[in-house]
Symmetry: D2
Subunit: 162 residues, 4 copies
């Protein structure tokens, strides 16, 4: 199912490299020798968790149905317009972030607010609905960052990792 | 929107009285003079929260789409079969329960496991899909119970409330 | 640090075997061939997570300080009397349960309400303060159960696991 | 108890005005006519929630005990050094933020990472331990912001609020 999630993300405009860029931006300051490849590996590990896969399947499905105008009202309008008080997108993303503990929370919030990299691309696509996808991607990057931080000491004893 | 949620719940087989029975069963031991009417009022209050309304709209929509076979695979099969590891239904319900603090958590878990009252009716309906609805109803009853407990002292000084 | 947590739990009256009994009671119905030894191994795995260790360290410390009357008021009275609306004990336990996804939530709530096995022993100890410990132990058992359920198919293809 | 929490915060170096500055910075872009006074009122409302009060009491107590060197090891060192993987401080703050729904999450993460205003003052105090306090204050500001956003339409129909 992991491969299916990666394929769905790609169809919706997000590559693993896009997510790795976010993880790299978050973790580089704490871990100067960090390689993009380590970020990608951490993301792939997070994507192996079934809870994460289910969150992506559910959220992307709701985005696509909204894009096709096939949801019942008022949900159709709420999701299609990315209503700021909706909150269910963030609830799903939180399920991803929690997989590596609450330290991922900070990074999730930061990404969600600053709309780094691919997140602003998703946010600015005029025709597409990415109400869930941008939060899911931020949650995935935050969880992969938390995972790197938890494993930091194993990777390097000389470097401070967060 | 609150009235819409109540109407949707009714169409899916759940009345406010069904939910009030759950709240009553949970809170009666701690609060002997409790009236069903107080339970109903507490539920109505919880249903005024926008986050709660959005969770019901989203979850019921997914149940109905799965019942109609209109979700893409593998999500269609996962939701239609109430796959035990899915977890997204519980994530949505948790959003409801949290609205009155974490003390609702215990009651949510208890209801979800014991399938009291309407919850076993929902669970045993052979043709229908209630993957989200049973968790949402348990979450609503748990939140309404937590709300009663928080307000307990105001209602009665002589009675121990949980 | 894992060994320290196990030692602290033992000093406070909880052995790994006590927790394994809870996991066994929760999972046996879904998994008839389950061995107590598999439950213990699952618990040990959960106890390797740093987030879990930190929750135990923090909660047990607060219990012990309350038992010794060394917390400032009103926190001293709130924790010593296991004030039902306190909720912070459940917040810490939730951090443990989430480590294996939200499916642990149901079991946590069920254990917290039914006070199975060691949980009722902890709850009925007249002199001791176990405000945090009983929730932490319920959270640990719930997470270990969720972990077994997630790994269930690997263990056995013929048996339904939850 | 609300007054006690405000007094404890003041003793630890945080005034309601400091928190109001954070809320103002977060909400001003979405709500140009926002007054500092509205921010303060929103914070006072959040502080009336018992769950929020309990989180502050617990977290500040742990900070103070760590500052006085009175916690048992290894918890003493973990809290005194604000160990980045500890996470329990963020778990407590999350309990606060959730009180007004998950939309507070984004702001919490943003504040926790950017260390706006009073948060950087708390973080840079060399002798003091503010491991819990900075997260609690960020959580309080995030919850007060979410509350303003939820009430935004009532306050003004012409202004976009988040």
């Amino acid at each position: 199912m992991k491969q299916l999630v990666i394929k769905l993300m790609a169809e919706r405009g997000v590559s693993l490299a896009d997510v790795a860029d976010l993880v790299y931006a978050l973790q580089r300051p704490f871990y100067p020798a960090l390689l993009l490849e380590q970020c990608t590996r951490s993301i792939e590990n997070v994507l192996e968790k079934r809870e994460v896969q289910f969150a992506f399947l559910t959220g992307i499905t709701l985005d696509v149905l909204a894009e096709q105008g096939r949801l019942p009202e008022p949900l159709q309008t709420i999701i299609a317009s990315d209503e700021p008080l909706y909150g269910i997108d963030e609830v799903l993303a939180l399920g991803i972030t929690n997989v590596y503990g609450t330290i991922g929370l900070t990074n999730f919030g930061y990404l969600d607010k600053t709309k780094l990299g691919i997140l602003s691309v998703l946010n600015d696509a005029p025709q597409a609905v990415h109400t869930f996808l941008d939060d899911l991607v931020a949650g995935l990057a935050a969880a992969a960052s938390a995972r790197l931080a938890h494993n930091g000491r194993a990777l390097s004893n000389e470097q401070q990792v967060r």
